[in-house]
Symmetry: D2
Subunit: 362 residues, 4 copies
């Protein structure tokens, strides 16, 4: 298993769904950053279950404890360890799953790879693993904002077949995103989205969706070609989030249908530096940020655990009917918004710390 | 700059477009693999410019030399260094670009990041950098095929607005892909695609496209959750290829519009092991291969360098009209097919070597 | 700060001397290893303060809690997080050190590097950081013993000017090492060593020493030339332990005074495989284990914190007399024995998991 | 095999003793560094064989070619690939070694690990592998000197039993080191050393030795505790050099025999900052440079390949008498001087680029 990411800003998550707790170690954060538990808690609260009727009823306060790395409200430069206890674990509910791998879930592949799997709740493949990411991401966000004014905002831009285009990436803020529990800032779409999620939940079904994200005020020059291009690092980070199936930056797949004379972002003077008239590039060129907003989208599949019975096979290959227990979200995208923001913050934070200035030697 | 990828199978590329040459060092390939220059050359020939009327007229034979790591036709276990000389470099053609960054190209971001850029041909952001990837990928492919019978086949599934659905991922082979220079195996689409590329070329314009890829016979159990999930590593690898804007695995973005009861891949006995009836997952569950074919798509933008004049700004911000010289492809996807295959081979090869067997201790 | 080591078996420690606690995340340990807290506690008990009159009176039970990665007494393959609470922290005792960096301690360099330092107890440079190493090492040791019968034994071979040569590296076991609190198995030397430590303690002074270590039954073939040679990885691991000043493997520095005809380890048949008559190589040749016992030594300086007053300078450069408070060991080598064993286990465990078998393809 | 080192300044060497050539890729060197082949050649010339009667008669000019990463005499920020061709390879001379592993050489362990070994000249375990290190180190040295005035000087401080103490680490320069082919700046010792080497050579024997090294003007604050402490990185780098058996920094093993009141380096004002009166620490405290000269020593064993016949065993375990052919140095330390300097430069260069400044946020 590989639970670490980052070159200078290194993040290591740990914890299973129904063990003692989940957490993260953030190593490489510069010393001197003001940091309080509340800076982290605010994003954990946006991720936690039970926050609205749209999410799993599993009730976890998800209170974070800072174990190390901070003294007198400032980071020491040493590893920051964060712990969130598991409280509302109900392993008994998963008894039915002992012999039958849930379709499109990680039960089968974990069993094959590790010769066992955590007995309940998905273990390490559970969404609870993302608590560590969000906690770490909150620290990275604070670092990015305090040192460079970088703002990262994600939102739900599609739920099932309901799309919500038209968000102004230059102005969207989290308060607007959080106005409804579906975390879509386009009012016209929210009612339809919420109805769709509720209908899926009642039918014992689930829905996928898309999250869009913008990172503003990212200085030009971030990203490490050729293999650690900024968009490559973002793509890898996003596809490491559970349930993701796709990533696109800037024009993305629709850009593949355009011709160059349309797609090229022509340069123009903006304030003291060069900017571009359009932003089909999504804020990156050649793997390096160009100073324009970084804009990308992430596709999430419908959750694999559904209430409906499924005609599938047990581990031995015998046909069986599975009726899954446990408590699950009919649609994960509202709670995944802070996860996407956090992964973006971790990638950009690492790139900022990896950047080297060119020399000026005659 | 970060020109290395991989944890056990480590690949380091080097070289600029118009320097002495380009190449790669492949470290971590197991000893004992039969390897001849021809094993590598075959994929370089599919990538090289000038191979058809659809590609840049820059004429490079791109002959590979094995500098180290192979003796008596077998790998030694030591780093395999490969070199391809640059021959048809014409730096003079790029003189016009000295003061004007090409829109949507890496000229501006390299200048900002490195305080300079290779004077001609895009330097390190040139497509010639991918020679090292293809050469390394050919070695990885040989390793995967000889040890596990793994087959990797990519093809062009869209050029601009011309789509080519319906390819049978279980049967498609490279010979079918290579029947036309556009590298699309769907005959009905190839004529339209070729016409579109030729029309774009004549108009001094360029076209994007999509490449699809299947990896067959990948054993279950590959991928390292949580941050190095197989799909995350593939996404990162693909988005590190020049001109890419998107990645999706299995159902991808269209999966986000489905509900769980449709999307779940129900298990069924296949031969001696579990398989799935459908493959919306694209061969991965929870970040780990499940034994089904790994299927993904990569979106490429239209090349930034076009013959048409563009109203843009120079480095100082002054408005100017750019007419780019140099020799370029109107559409890169046919030549990018072996690049996608190679990056897939490098990711899967590394995951295969990173895999640890579970212990069986009472 | 860089608190992680290892390529496949990755270890990340966290925690300051006087914060909430210290701990470690061990990622990459194969699934299926039987593991109980007692497997870890036994080594922590050998490391903990207050275990004898020779060590610091700081009283810490150092009880370990397994937060994740283990279920039903077996490892899951997921990250194993371990936590040890700090209990007997007395930050007040360090007030005198606020303005004066302790000579030969990390106070000054931490202040320069991080712009601050943990206020008390040395923070991250404290010996308490090694708790995470020992806890992780105990897991690695269990893995090495259960899968390959590998035994690692370290002992004190010198305290100050008292040497204890003549230990039989083929037979020495931990029970013999632990017969006296000085952890030297050579009876003739122990009385002198203990007296020397007690005398130094009474004089407000401190003593250095040397730890020797043997790793038996390490299979041939471990180590990754050229930069991750087994001896290079061991050297780096040992010199990362606080207070270490030197490392030598096999003949070490004395080998530099020999000629080749003496020093060469001639091959001889041993059981079914090749062994060597002598072992000046210390179990490695060309960076790779050769099947002979791996034997090395680590030099520790006398602890920097002493009771005697010292004529030094404060952070501003003003001359001052420092009388350090706090509770400290007059000689660290007895407690460092399990640390050396643990670092050896982590290095060998990682090399075992990194090893690739050569292919056998005609 | 693992042929890469470094986190930001990444170095990857390649090449066997008797293949086409040896070389290195240096990635992560900042853009804008003035660099000519002569900057590199000067150190290669100090390493090359045949430079004096004390070294192997193998005659290699070892001319370096810069393949990439430099344009108009300045680094581009992209990977710098360097190649040195092998010319005077004589594989035939090694025929006798086919069935008999040379004692204390890597023949046996390579055969075990890789299932084969390069047929002649030691392949990857040959001293020729260090050409890449020296070439890369020369670039790092230039970077360190141009940006921080850092000077690195190594010298031979012992050959066999002949010691040469008393070198002034504050003043020693390379010109003094190079005054004799033995590379020892202590005149009184050089004659004895040279005689000893010549006698060993005539006797078909070999001699070990010790190299000392000082790095001056290293700014305080370099090194990444806890696992990548500066001394840990140096120890790992030095023990990765072929034929090394030991490393010590500052007081080293002799420091283990001292008491703290002697060993502690008391602070004193030096110019505008704190320095220490003594330097038993060797320029590091807590794993971080303190601004004092970094001083360390490396022990080299006598070369394993000797002219005398040896009673050993072949690969099958049969007793045999080995008389090795090939051309070898009776003592490697004179030629290893630039290797030690280079490894030090690579470690310090990487640490300089990894360093993060603390934040100053109220």
């Amino acid at each position: 298993m590989s639970s670490s990411m980052g070159t200078i800003l290194k993040v290591t998550t740990f914890g299973e769904s129904h063990g003692q707790g989940v957490g993260v170690v953030v190593d490489g954060c510069p010393a001197g950053l003001p940091l309080q538990p509340a800076d982290i808690q605010v994003q954990l609260d946006r991720r936690r279950p039970g926050q609205s009727t749209l999410t799993t009823p599993r009730d976890e306060a998800d209170r974070v404890t800072i174990l190390s790395g901070v003294e007198n409200g400032k980071t020491l430069g040493s590893p920051i360890a964060l712990l969130v206890a598991n409280r509302d674990a109900r392993p008994a509910e998963y008894a039915a799953l002992k012999n039958v791998p849930r379709p499109s879930h990680a039960d089968y592949t974990y069993q094959i790879k590790y010769g066992r799997r955590a007995f309940s709740g998905g273990g390490r493949s559970s969404a609870r693993e993302t608590i560590g990411r969000v906690a770490a991401g909150a620290i990275a966000e604070k670092f990015l904002f305090e040192t460079h004014g970088i703002e990262i905002v994600a939102w739900v831009s599609a739920v099932g077949t309901v799309n919500a285009p038209g968000v102004d990436v230059l102005r969207i803020i989290r308060r607007e995103v959080d106005q409804t529990p579906i975390r879509c800032p386009v009012k016209a779409a929210t009612v339809k989205m919420i109805s769709a999620v509720q209908a899926a939940g009642k039918a014992g079904d689930s829905l996928g969706g898309i999250i869009s994200c913008v990172c503003r005020h990212v200085p030009p020059g971030l990203g490490e070609p050729v293999f650690d291009k900024l968009e490559a690092a973002l793509a890898g980070a996003m596809l490491s989030i559970p349930a993701t199936k796709g990533f696109e930056i800037g024009s993305g797949f629709s850009g593949s249908r355009m011709c160059g004379s349309q797609h090229n972002d022509l340069f123009v003077k903006k304030g003291g530096q060069l900017g571009t008239r359009t932003n089909y590039s999504g804020g990156v060129q050649g793997g390096i940020s160009n100073g324009e907003p970084i804009v990308f989208q992430v596709a999430f599949k419908p959750p694999a655990t559904i209430g409906q019975s499924q005609q599938t096979a047990d581990f031995e290959g015998n046909e069986t009917t599975l009726v899954a227990g446990g408590r699950h979200d009919p649609c994960v995208v509202p709670r995944a918004v802070p996860i996407v923001e956090s992964m973006a913050a971790l990638v950009i934070g690492d790139m900022l710390l990896r950047r080297q200035k060119p020399l000026n030697i005659p």
